[in-house]
């Protein structure tokens, strides 16, 4: 498929649009921001439901605590900020005021990963999946496209308990536009069947993995691509079943290879079906300024970069 014909939408836009729909469906849904409503794309909700949008100012720690208090009174708060601040700055508030009492707070973290782009390393959070998945009872989701992001937000609202959702700043291709698309928290999806190796990917890397699989296919290598939106609880069954078939697993994520999807997949495989695994992601380095496209190319998270790393792995 030609690049210019694929519809592209940033998942942060999907987050805002899904909240707008939820606002109409459920009066208990409230949205909190820390002076970033324009960037987190919750502005559409703010405009439609000004009484249910709470701007907390630049104070993420307090915002998470306020959300916890709102949840005890029956509200369904969606806390919105950049991943760096929602999962990073406010980690301990999320852990102690939301995770420990298992409150019904949803965290919508936008601007995750290196595709933040020009703002540079201080704002490129490559650690949030690792941080959030260590909190007992926390659901962690990283949608791959617009359709999945909206479905994940809706599913989070329907689920009782804390949820962390990770969204991107940059537009990414819509890959789930099909009539039979279904979403369920904790379920992975095989987006391309294959027999020679398994690529488990999350977020924008699902699109990249599909591109890499197409390049491999041209050389007669059949890759199975699994979209893992829910990193916790992980769909261990789908990964182990695929590993049994292919005997090799590659993980791909716009996140550190320490503690993210790659680690979660290894955790699952090592206890029941150990196979060689290559973790593609940020290799224990900080990002830098640059366009999202240039960064994804440099750090080998685009289709070509993933293809090349897989070729090395298969040598």
């Amino acid at each position: 498929m030609a690049e210019n014909t694929v519809k592209k939408i940033a998942t942060r836009e999907s987050y805002g649009n899904a909240l707008l729909e939820l606002g109409a469906e459920n009066p208990n849904v409230v949205v909190l921001d820390a002076d970033l409503a324009a960037a987190t794309k919750t502005g559409v909700f703010k405009k439609a439901y000004p009484d249910r949008h709470i701007d907390c100012g630049i104070a993420e720690s307090n915002m998470v605590g306020v959300a916890a208090g709102l949840a005890t009174a029956g509200k369904i708060p969606f806390v919105s900020s950049f991943a760096m601040f929602a999962a990073g700055r406010a980690f301990e508030q999320v852990r102690n005021s939301v995770g420990y009492p298992h409150l019904n707070v949803k965290i919508g973290a936008t601007h995750a990963g290196i595709t933040v782009g020009e703002d540079g390393a201080s704002h490129q959070c490559n650690e949030d999946i690792a941080l959030m998945r260590t909190i007992p009872g926390m659901v962690v989701m990283c949608p791959a496209d617009d359709i999945e992001a909206k479905a994940a937000v809706k599913a989070a609202a329907a689920y009782e308990g804390p949820v962390y959702m990770r969204f991107g700043r940059a537009a990414c291709p819509v890959i789930n536009d099909r009539p039979d698309y279904q979403f369920e928290i904790g379920k992975g999806t095989i987006v391309k069947e294959g027999k020679d190796l398994t690529i488990a990917a999350t977020g924008i890397c699902v699109g990249s993995a599909l591109e890499a699989a197409a390049l491999l296919e041209e050389e007669g290598i059949s890759a199975e691509v699994i979209n893992i939106c829910t990193i916790k609880p992980l769909d261990e069954q789908i990964i182990i079943a695929s590993a049994r078939k292919t005997g090799k697993v590659v993980t791909a994520e716009e996140h550190s290879v320490i503690g993210g999807l790659g680690s979660a997949v290894c955790d699952a495989l090592c206890k029941s079906y150990p196979v060689p695994v290559m973790k593609i992601g940020m290799q224990d380095v900080f990002g830098e300024s640059g366009s999202a496209a240039a960064l994804v190319e440099k750090y080998k998270l685009d289709g070509k970069g993933i293809y090349e790393q897989i070729k090395d792995f298969l040598k």
């Binding site: 409230v30 009484d51 249910r52 709470i54 907390c56 100012g57 104070a59 720690s61 307090n62 998470v64 605590g65 306020v66 959300a67 916890a68 208090g69 709102l70 949840a71 005890t72 009174a73 029956g74 509200k75 708060p77 301990e92 508030q93 102690n96 005021s97 420990y100 009492p101 298992h102």
Partner: protein, 280 residues
């Protein structure tokens, strides 16, 4: 309750604090004792609560932001009938619902889990905001330590509460003047506490934390205060009621041994006897 009944109840609460901490061989007696009169007033006079139905929908809420003084909260909840007083001796023991710091999922009457300083006040602010959004008339109370004021989140929450004019919120500061490393004025002074809350658009009341007339007057004034939250700066004595714990930083987070336990209980028994004489 009249003042004498409140004093007698607070004295029983203090005995339970000592009993629980002694049994646990760990815990925080100093700041539990300094706040015992405030706890007693809140749960026996001020708050609209129901021990038979701890999650009553429109109840008043309390968040113990200084969560380490859980022995004080547990003791008052037990004496108010939320759970058996006998259970207090299980404090901090494996399998007990009375965790070292309050856990809302397991303790009847605990409205928010707390313990990490600075976080409780934000949750209380969220509860107060929910009340305003839903046009409910319940009130929200949160108790902070003076050392806790060193946490930046306290001021994030205060800025938000003042900005949102949350007049259904009362922040109480147990100003006993001591934190683990020494006097708060020496460690990293939060003073002037009252001026700080005023600057964040709070109505501020300074009181003697052990004078029930003053406590009553302050909470009545808070109810009448509209358009701004209230901060009650409760000037207290750490370890109040137990001679060797009073004004001593050593008893911030330490349990009495058996001998010290006997002395402490004798001190409180004596106070109880004096209160009985006052009654007669």
């Amino acid at each position: 309750m009249n003042n004498l009944e409140l004093k007698k109840t607070a004295n029983e609460v203090r005995k339970s604090i000592i009993t629980a901490v002694h049994s646990a061989k760990a815990g925080h007696p100093g700041g539990s004792l300094s706040a015992a009169d405030i706890y007693t007033y809140l749960y026996f006079e001020e708050m609209n609560i129901n021990p038979e139905n701890p999650k009553m929908e429109d109840r008043d809420r309390f968040v113990l932001s200084k969560g380490h003084t859980a022995p004080g909260l547990y003791s008052v909840l037990a004496h108010r009938g939320f759970f058996p007083v006998e259970d207090l001796v299980t404090l901090r023991k494996l399998g007990s619902y009375l965790q070292g710091h309050p856990c809302m999922q397991h303790v009847p009457g605990v409205d928010m889990s707390s313990g990490s300083l600075g976080q409780g006040i934000s949750a209380a602010v969220g509860m107060a905001l929910a009340g305003k959004m839903d046009k409910k008339d319940y009130r929200v109370y949160t108790l902070l330590g003076d050392g806790e004021l060193e946490e930046g989140q306290v001021w994030e929450a205060s800025m938000f509460a003042g900005h949102r004019k949350l007049d259904n919120l009362v922040v109480i500061v147990d100003n006993n003047g001591l934190q683990i490393d020494g006097p708060v004025a020496e460690v990293c002074s939060p003073y002037p506490i009252d001026e700080k809350f005023k600057a964040f658009n709070f109505h501020v009341i300074n009181i003697d934390a052990h004078d029930f007339d003053a406590i009553r007057a302050a909470f009545e004034q808070a109810r009448k205060t509209k358009g701004m939250p209230t901060a009650i700066i409760a000037h207290s004595l750490k370890g109040k009621g137990v001679s060797f714990m009073e004004g001593s930083v050593d008893w911030h987070g330490k349990a009495p041994n058996d001998e010290q336990f006997e002395t402490a209980m004798a001190d409180l028994e004596k106070i109880g006897e004096e209160l009985l004489k006052e009654e007669a």
